[in-house]
Amino acid sequence: MGPEFVLRGYPRRIARAVVDAMVPRWPEFDVDLTDDVLADVERTLRGYPPIIQVAILGSLFGLEFLSPLFGPGLKPLSRSERHIAIARLETIANHPIPQIRMLVMLLKVTISFAAYSRPDVEAFLGYRRREWRETRQALRARLLAADPAKLPAVPAPLADGRVVTPAEFLSFLAALADGHAEQAAG
């Protein structure tokens, strides 16, 4: 437990089955994320306090042995086929009793955070988050370096005048930071 937390043996097998059921898959996306995400999840779990780590282990065993109650199939989760595992986990995740939903929810959030923060997943979905951040940082640095007098005026509260589009704003700022403030303002 604690920062040295590792998933070994049986709990690891269950965790792998849960991750395998929960990671995103698209026909056009040719990467199986299961092992990478499992490693990320394990790293995240190390940052959780021991009591949550114990709770996670408890939920894993709960899912392993209790999930057959939520059908389909009778085998423990880690020995079930993926589509069966998914069907059971979905039933649990939508159960009317919140405490039962909790068996899945923390794992779902941890796994989704790991999977959807991946640059390849982001890029597949049309997000270039790292590049976006870099251009923002660079733009802001240039903006701050520009003559403060030329910075765009702070707008008044809503309802007086239009809101410019993001594209207009960005080209305005870029031109401003390049020292073409008047041209930009025009």
Binding site: R25, R46, G47, M102, G126
Partner: protein, 522 residues
């Protein structure tokens, strides 16, 4: 006086490059620490940093102890799990129990929760302040009494409207809907300097635009000679002859277990609305008044989102440029809220293949939230072995507000041109057409069917004009223990219905000024 470093050069902002000498990490010291100061402040978030700067500028020797680490802005990475582990308590895996568990986040780093918040800056509504004056016996908290503190806070944290156009498509879509319906919007002031819409508020602003306490109060504190020790977890409040005279705790040095002791003329706790009452309870302080850990309000929220036919580019823009205040009198606030992809994946009830299909449309999905003024009160208790127990039940009356608000939000999104609206209600996760909105009323979702979230934790050691009504008096001093002051979200006398950081900072200023006066007189 302070154990080590005494002088240091001027500090402009502290998050950008080199660690200032005034921030002392375990690597900078050896062995156990024994420190003496006029005032020891525990916590460097909204309340702690404000108190510390105010006291240090009044000429007092002040030490801040912070349990979390210091991270320069360049270390705020794009990886959500890694940032949650670095910046949040328990890696962000925190939830309160009740009819439906409510996840929440607490910052644990230099700057506290101000490092991970959305940056919205609202003064306490006047109606709330009048209530505090009349019902809680706190004339100091009148709008007039707090006016100059609000001004000072807003100047220091740079509470300003966004630069035109930086808001991004999610905010635009929201505005389009509100405008179409003729609903009143209010532009948000945010504590930012030229926010360029990186949309990463919750994992630490990567451009340095957000003026968290790292960029605002802490530089003022350091410039006035203050010192901040990181990775110091306060566990014990030391008392002598019925007065608080210092604190003790453990220093999280990765190499060896170490301890620290700080002796001071006054102790200020600013650990936040959850950690402050827990610390008091573990030290058996405030038992007599019976209010520690009670009156917990959370300004709960639910997430709504909608898919549009053209991209709204959730990635680009600011978290929340405006709010819809049309229904304020009913205690309902509707707001856009751009969030990174990973957070978006967490707000949908699906997972695996279904979630993957939903997320295909991520660029077309605008996310938002609904906040309601809550009428329920939760409770925080320290169980044996240091385990916290946090209980909060959303009431049926508040749930009725959520249902109405969800219907309004769906209406707004459809008016903005949405093709489909997503709710946090398990039995009706998708509203496919405007006509479907009525299904929310036909079979209203129960509390148990709803996924909530909260970011506004308050009131667990409330301030009150009378010793029997709260934990601290109007000067922030604990009724039960002279020398112990509280100055964070826990002292808010009740729910405020708006984002709380400005209120917390204004009250922290008030507490600090009174404390400085008192210490100078003695």
């Amino acid at each position: 006086m302070n154990e080590r470093v005494q002088g240091h050069g001027p500090v402009d902002f502290i998050a950008e490059e080199q660690k200032p000498a005034a921030i002392i990490t375990p690597a900078d010291t050896r062995g156990d620490l024994f420190i003496t100061a006029d005032v020891v402040v525990v916590g460097s978030g909204a309340g702690g940093a404000t108190v510390a700067a105010t006291l240090a500028e009044a000429g007092l020797r002040v030490v801040v102890l912070e349990e979390g680490d210091w991270f320069p802005t360049r270390e705020y990475s794009a990886s959500v799990p890694s940032m949650l582990s670095k910046l949040m308590r328990a890696g962000g895996a925190t939830a309160m129990m009740g009819r439906s568990p409510v996840p929440y986040l607490e910052g644990k780093c230099v700057g506290g929760t101000t490092v991970v918040n959305g940056g919205m800056c609202w003064r306490t509504p006047e109606r709330v302040l009048h209530e505090w004056v009349s019902e809680r016996g706190l004339p100091e908290l009148s709008p007039r009494g707090l006016e100059r503190h609000f001004e000072e806070v807003e100047t220091t944290i740079h509470a300003r409207y966004q630069d035109e156009g930086s808001q991004g498509g999610v905010n635009d879509a929201f505005k389009r809907g509100a405008d179409a319906l003729g609903w009143k919007l209010s532009r948000n002031k945010r504590n930012q300097k030229h926010c360029v819409g990186s949309n990463d508020c919750v994992t630490g602003c990567p451009s340095g635009a957000k003026q968290s306490t790292q960029y605002s109060w802490l530089p003022r504190f350091f410039n006035a000679g203050g010192l901040l020790y990181t990775r110091c977890r306060v566990k014990q409040i030391v008392t002598e002859r019925g007065r608080a005279t210092g604190v003790r705790g453990v220093l999280a040095d990765p190499w060896q277990p170490r301890r620290f002791t700080v002796n001071a003329r006054a102790v200020v706790l600013a650990c936040g609305a959850i950690q402050t009452p827990l610390l008091l309870q573990r030290n058996k302080i405030g038992r007599e008044c019976g209010h520690v850990g009670r009156h917990f309000t959370i300004h709960p929220n639910i997430k709504m989102s909608a898919r549009f036919s053209s991209p709204v580019e959730n990635l680009q823009g600011t978290h929340q440029a405006w709010q819809c205040i049309e229904f304020r009198d009913e205690g309902i606030l509707l707001a856009p809220g751009a969030i990174p992809l990973a957070f978006m994946s967490a707000i949908f009830p699906e997972f695996g293949p279904r979630l993957a299909e939903r997320m295909r449309d991520a660029r077309y999905i605008a996310t938002g939230g609904i906040l309601v003024d809550d009428h329920s009160e939760g409770r925080i208790r320290a169980l044996p072995f240091g385990v916290p127990w946090i209980q909060y039940d959303v009431t049926d009356a508040d749930q009725a507000k959520f249902v109405r608000a969800a219907a309004l939000m769906a209406e707004l999104y459809f008016a903005a041109g949405a093709e489909e609206v997503y709710t946090p209600f398990h039995h009706l996760p998708v509203i496919a057409t405007p006509d479907d909105i009525k299904r929310l009323y036909q079979r209203p979702p129960r509390v148990e069917d709803t996924e909530y979230f909260t970011a506004h934790l308050m009131g667990t050691c409330r301030m009150h004009g009378h010793a029997r009504g709260g934990v601290v008096g109007p000067d922030g001093q604990a009724w039960d223990l002279p020398g112990l002051y509280l100055a964070d979200a826990s002292v808010l006398p009740g729910t405020i219905g708006v984002n709380p950081q400005v209120t917390i900072m204004a009250i922290a200023r008030l507490v600090a000024e009174k404390l400085a006066d008192r210490l100078r007189r003695v």
